[in-house]
């Protein structure tokens, strides 16, 4: 089934990382929490070749030719699913998407049974998004191929954090501030921290790369114990923004705007909306990020989201494809028999 492609071994960088499999010693990618700093950097470095490829007119390689990748999405997604699909196809794999709406999950089949069923189709990698925290790990324990977490409940969304790190790295490089990692950088993550897997993965990823992270949310949307994880909690957005180098806004789900968590979208915008005026509290030239999709006029104003010199929101989307290509490449190396990865 597997094709060995020795003609173009992926050696984007050398010397910085342990050889072969030791550079990334996991079968699955379930969360940033499982990764060491050098493993995060390795994935970022590996993604650079795909950033280049994705900017060419012919964006194709046969690296994963003959491999089958299943995108099993038990929760609605447009952007992440599309990003994974494009990543798999550009690497030459056969990509199949499974949507919860069309699946037997709605007919009461258990997640384990679904996992066993998918596994029986002999995929070479499974990408999973699920609404329950820990669901990806549960499936990973039951299947024989690598599993990538594309978001599980409020737990983790590792490829989002990796693509954010890659976008940030590129933005800093463009400004001539390139460094080994994010040491000394102050990052504010603002929004529904309580329910956000993006916030958790980014917190762990940014910390691993040396940044200090401030979390900002109204009390009802701030989880307990974030200090114990090394983050600084804020309820005042202005205080959190003071001197910040990067402002990462989170999407506020519409169902949370209806009075149980916050009184209204209007009031949320009044306290936590990123306006140009508010952004001026941050460091000069502070970068603005958002994982999308944005609620313009709620958590972020259009004039901020569209600032060409400050907002890297579209770059985040671009880096998403490259990061997912890197993850699919690295995780399938063992099955492809790449030297040192068996």
């Amino acid at each position: 089934m597997t094709s060995t492609d020795n003609s173009s071994p992926p050696t984007a960088s050398s010397g910085r990382f342990p050889a072969g499999r030791l550079a990334f010693a996991h079968r699955d990618l379930t969360g940033i929490g499982q990764l060491e700093r050098h493993e995060i950097l390795y994935l970022l470095d590996q993604a650079e070749q795909w950033v280049k490829l994705n900017r060419k007119s012919s964006k194709h390689t046969d690296l994963l030719s003959g491999l089958t990748i299943i995108n099993a999405f038990f929760e609605n997604s447009t952007r992440t699913l599309l990003s994974f699909e494009i990543a798999g196809k550009r690497l030459g794999a056969d990509v199949v998407n499974m949507h919860a709406a069309q699946s037997s999950v709605k007919k009461g089949e258990t997640l384990i049974d679904t996992a066993i069923t998918l596994n029986a189709m002999r995929p070479d990698a499974i990408v999973i998004r699920h609404g329950s925290s820990g669901a990806t790990q549960l499936i990973a324990d039951k299947v024989d191929c690598p599993v990538l977490n594309a978001g599980d409940g409020s737990h983790e969304h590792p490829t989002q954090a990796l693509l954010d790190a890659l976008a940030l790295r590129h933005a800093l490089q463009l400004r001539g501030e390139s460094a080994e990692d994010f040491t000394g950088l102050n990052v504010v993550i603002c929004g529904d921290i309580l329910h956000s897997r993006v916030a958790r993965s980014n917190l762990l990823c940014l910390q691993a790369l040396g940044a200090s992270v401030r979390l900002c949310a109204p009390p009802a949307l701030m989880p307990d114990g974030v200090e114990a994880i090394g983050a600084q909690p804020f309820t005042s957005f202005d205080a959190a923004l003071a001197g910040a180098d990067v402002v990462m806004m989170l999407r506020l789900q519409t169902e949370r705007m209806a009075g149980q968590f916050i009184p209204s979208a209007r009031e949320y915008h009044h306290l936590y909306g990123l306006t140009q005026e508010r952004l001026s509290n941050a460091a000069p030239d502070a970068l603005v990020m958002h994982p999308g999709p944005m609620n313009r006029g709620v958590e972020i104003d259009s004039e901020v989201a569209d600032m060409l010199d400050r907002s890297i929101i579209t770059q985040q989307v671009e880096m998403g494809v490259a990061i997912r290509m890197a993850c699919l490449d690295v995780l399938t190396r063992s099955a492809r028999g790449v030297e040192g990865w068996a």
């Binding site: 997640l111 384990i112 925290s133 790990q137 409020s154 983790e156 989880p223 307990d224």
Partner: protein, 410 residues
């Protein structure tokens, strides 16, 4: 089945109220006929020499969710009070009557009547009729009764009938669909969580109502320092309130939920290490009255799920005694106190004549080697399911022999 001939257990260390004595127990016609230092076997007795092992009352397990005889017998349990959370719930006299007879003769099941119809917390169930059908207490089930007016009327009714009310202490409005206690662990795992204070809120209200009603109130599980403080204070004022705990909450903290281990999903959910230490202190100072298994065997269909979707509970009957004996070895309590928590206090709350080694009581007796080492192994459990959070842990303390009403069952 009746006891055919008298049995005398000799050479044991007898666990009697307040003290351990070396001696013998003689059982005649299903009752304890004599016990003490000078008791000797008589002609025609079956003699069992236990060679210095512990002779204790059979365990009375207050608040189990499933009748699981092999597991109970393995764990030295001769009586179990069954929670009304059955399918269908124990909210109807004929169901209570059926359950009350279901385990006999070698296991006595004491049904706890559902406080409200279908355990929905809206309308009182036919408690007096269920009492006549064999209910030994009333329970609110897995949940708290949110309606304070209804809870007051329930407690007044229970006081009239002299039935204990066993309640679950968590304020529903705070817990909601939570699967974990708010804190670093729940935040790292991204689990829906509720503050531990939901327990103290519920306890404070229920103590106030019980005091007004003059009812006997038992919190099946108290797991937080604030909760123990409220119970301690109420007891010192003379309120008729008691509380229990299961080994999970004094052995484990929320760290056990790492990697989404659903065998560590409980209701109430596991607490922080500080709360666990408060639980040990409350067991040591006498605030805790009952240690129970909370036996709730759950198969893969309930446990092999994402953490928040999995059912709470553990198969605890087999490990109840061994886990309680760790408290004796650690000096938290002594051996006599251990059996007050495991047998005599629950029997007293249920108003059944058992739970103590005392002349005239039912001959429910466990012979125990408190030091016998064994490995808890979920693949070798007697229970109908293998959901123990203590899998592959070492334990000490085994039941060697179990007698129910003068008849040897193990």
């Amino acid at each position: 089945m009746k006891q055919a001939r008298p049995i005398t257990i000799t050479g044991g260390q007898l666990v009697t109220t307040g003290a351990m004595i070396t001696g013998a127990v003689r059982m005649v016609d299903g009752l304890i006929a004599e016990l003490g230092k000078d008791v000797a076997a008589q002609d025609g007795d079956t003699i069992v020499d236990v060679k210095g092992r512990i002779v204790a009352p059979g365990l009375v397990d207050l608040g189990v969710f499933s009748i699981d005889k092999p597991a109970f017998h393995f764990g030295g349990i001769t009586r179990a009070a069954l929670m009304p959370d059955q399918s269908p719930p124990l909210d109807y006299p004929s169901r209570v009557n059926y359950i009350a007879k279901s385990g006999k003769p070698d296991l006595w099941v004491h049904p706890l009547a559902a406080a409200t119809r279908s355990l929905e917390g809206n309308e009182l169930a036919e408690i007096a009729l269920m009492r006549e059908a064999g209910a030994r207490g009333i329970a609110t089930g897995r949940r708290w009764i949110a309606n304070s007016g209804l809870m007051l009327r329930l407690l007044q009714y229970a006081a009239m009938l002299d039935l204990v009310v066993v309640t679950h202490a968590e304020d529903d409005a705070l817990t909601g669909e939570a699967a974990a206690t708010a804190g670093e662990m729940a935040t790292r795992l991204g689990l829906p969580s509720a503050p531990a204070e939901a327990e103290a809120l519920a306890i404070a209200r229920d103590i106030t109502l019980a005091e007004m009603a003059g009812a006997r109130l038992h919190f099946r599980q108290v797991t937080t320092k604030a909760g123990f403080d409220l119970v301690r204070a109420a007891k010192s004022r003379g309120v008729s309130v008691t509380c229990g705990i299961t080994p999970a909450h004094f052995m484990l903290s929320d760290l056990a939920t790492a990697e989404f281990r659903t065998f560590a999903r409980f209701s109430p959910s596991l607490r922080s290490e500080a709360e666990r230490q408060a639980a040990l202190a409350a067991i040591g100072d006498g605030t805790v009255d009952v240690i129970a298994s909370g036996h709730d065997p759950r198969g893969a269909e309930d446990k092999r799920l994402p953490f928040a979707d999995a059912e709470a509970g553990m198969a605890g009957a087999e490990t109840l005694l061994a886990m309680t004996l760790t408290l004796v070895r650690d000096g938290v309590i002594d051996m006599a106190r251990a059996f007050e928590l495991l047998a005599s206090n629950p029997a007293r709350l249920l108003n059944v004549s058992a739970g103590r080694l005392e002349v005239g009581l039912e001959a429910d007796i466990a012979v125990i080697d408190p030091d016998a080492p064994w490995i808890i192994d979920r693949r070798k459990m007697e229970a109908t399911a293998d959901n123990t959070p203590f899998d592959r842990q070492g334990a000490q303390g085994r039941v060697l022999k179990l007698v129910k009403g003068g008849i040897e069952v193990v």
